[in-house]
Symmetry: C2
Subunit: 286 residues, 2 copies
């Protein structure tokens, strides 16, 4: 009933660890992932630490550069370029979001990452490959994690009506394309959608990625539907403590759904696992 | 009731002609479009001739290279490269589909077109910009023509339920993204969709791009809906003559729809007009 993202992510990490060990037995150097963090946002620091410890677990060498929130575009690009030309680095990850002054230049900066080291799959060229469903595309980590969760939970997609809520570049748009390629009939809903409850009620699979705490009501979910909740929203509990909730009302939705991802412990761990998978893939190609 | 694509395309061509004349008064050279045709497919020859005569009408200089169906990938790429480095050429159009032996290399060949001359908007890099909705994106001609038809027919898109039928790279996928960016709630249907009649019945706007003659039945259309028919399907009439029909049963659908595009004379002329608009845009940027 509950899709255990932590467990599935661990399975994938175990597979990757084995694959890396086997390939390294042929005396290949270790895969390398460089993570670049700009500024001191605590959430970003937390995610970067998670990614680095996951690298250590798998035998992926990790590199890290931390720049001040006041660094210039040129300084950041120069760090990217040095990793581009470093042969021990297979993947480069620029932790997003960037601090406010750099934010408008995010895509321009991402596009300086070598197409051969684009572990997050967010360069313009790679996004074109995603649209083309090219064999050389690196699929962005969160959408790829959602697809993998569905696959490993045995959810058939062909002919299913899937509602993707949220049309972001990081999740909604690419996952809608990937689901369509997997033969689902995909509807992409968003803030301007007129009757979201009705859209949800008609969906065999609901994938929510809007970043609004429990905005998707559990009672809207069609009985037996599958729910993938991408949201990670910090909120205050009634007792004043902080907690993390998803975009879907979990308790109520889990009464309706046949399968549902929890938050935390659903899509989140998969995103990290897919980053490691992408890095391993780039290493194998290198 | 009927959206006159021929008339709207003519309006756009008149606007472009005026714009080109005005800019050329500043002694700027004429815009240039190079068309490359491989093989002797009659339909492709017809489309190329149409594009060239439209160029002449607007004061766009047109260049043409015809290669035999047996030409090699290298020969074709060498023609593209010579246009890439020709300063009088602003846009390069490779007429598709390529002959069978070259077909598997279509994207690889398209990707040799300079990003500054990609008049059809089909290079991988440009498709990434389409996914990003980047200001520098060149939107592929047929999807852009559909959007322009809707706009100039006064069809509001925000919050509307739009059904796109067909998930091709040339039409379905990019137009679904463009409609979503225009705040429509978009469903992308295709050959694996389970109950197409039901999907059609729920749509405020139906955009059909599957290339199957009159496969979308008129009675499925919701009363008052808008129908954009991208199909161009040659069929034999009952009297043995050839005619062209769309993907939608036109007569029956026009009883239901508030607005509908005819075939021919709907989306077709818009595709040519958008090619000229893209070429003019590239010329202005050059």
């Amino acid at each position: 009933m509950i899709i255990d993202g932590q467990k599935i992510a661990q399975e994938i990490k175990n597979e990757l660890k084995l694959e890396i060990e086997n390939l390294r037995a042929g005396s290949k150097r270790a895969p390398g992932l460089a993570v670049i963090l700009v500024g001191d946002d605590p959430a970003s620091q937390f995610y970067v630490a998670k990614k680095q410890s996951a690298c250590a677990e798998l035998g992926i060498e990790s590199f890290k550069t931390v720049l001040g929130a006041d660094c210039t575009k040129e300084q950041l690009i120069s760090v990217i370029n040095s990793y581009n030309s470093d042969n021990s680095v297979d993947g480069i990850l620029l932790q997003l979001p960037l601090p406010t002054p750099l934010k408008p230049f995010t895509q321009e900066i991402l596009d300086t990452i070598s197409e051969h080291k684009d572990a997050d799959g967010l360069t313009t060229l790679n996004l074109g490959k995603v649209l083309l469903d090219s064999p050389s595309a690196i699929f962005p980590c969160t959408p790829k994690g959602c697809m993998e969760l569905l696959k490993r939970s045995g959810v058939a997609l062909s002919g299913k009506r899937v509602l993707v809520i949220g049309r972001s570049l990081l999740v909604g748009k690419p996952v809608a394309l990937m689901l369509s390629n997997a033969n689902a009939t995909v509807t992409l809903a968003h803030s301007q959608t007129q009757n979201l409850a009705l859209e949800v009620a008609q969906a065999d699979i609901v994938l929510a990625a809007i970043g609004k705490p429990e905005a998707i009501l559990g009672k809207w979910i069609k009985p037996g539907a599958v729910v993938i909740d991408v949201g990670i929203n910090p909120v205050l509990s009634s007792d004043g403590t902080k907690k993390i909730v998803g975009d879907v009302e979990f308790l109520e939705a889990s009464q309706q759904a046949s399968l549902i991802t929890p938050v935390p412990g659903g899509v989140g761990p998969m995103t990290v696992a897919m980053l490691l998978k992408n890095t391993t893939e780039l290493w194998k190609r290198a």
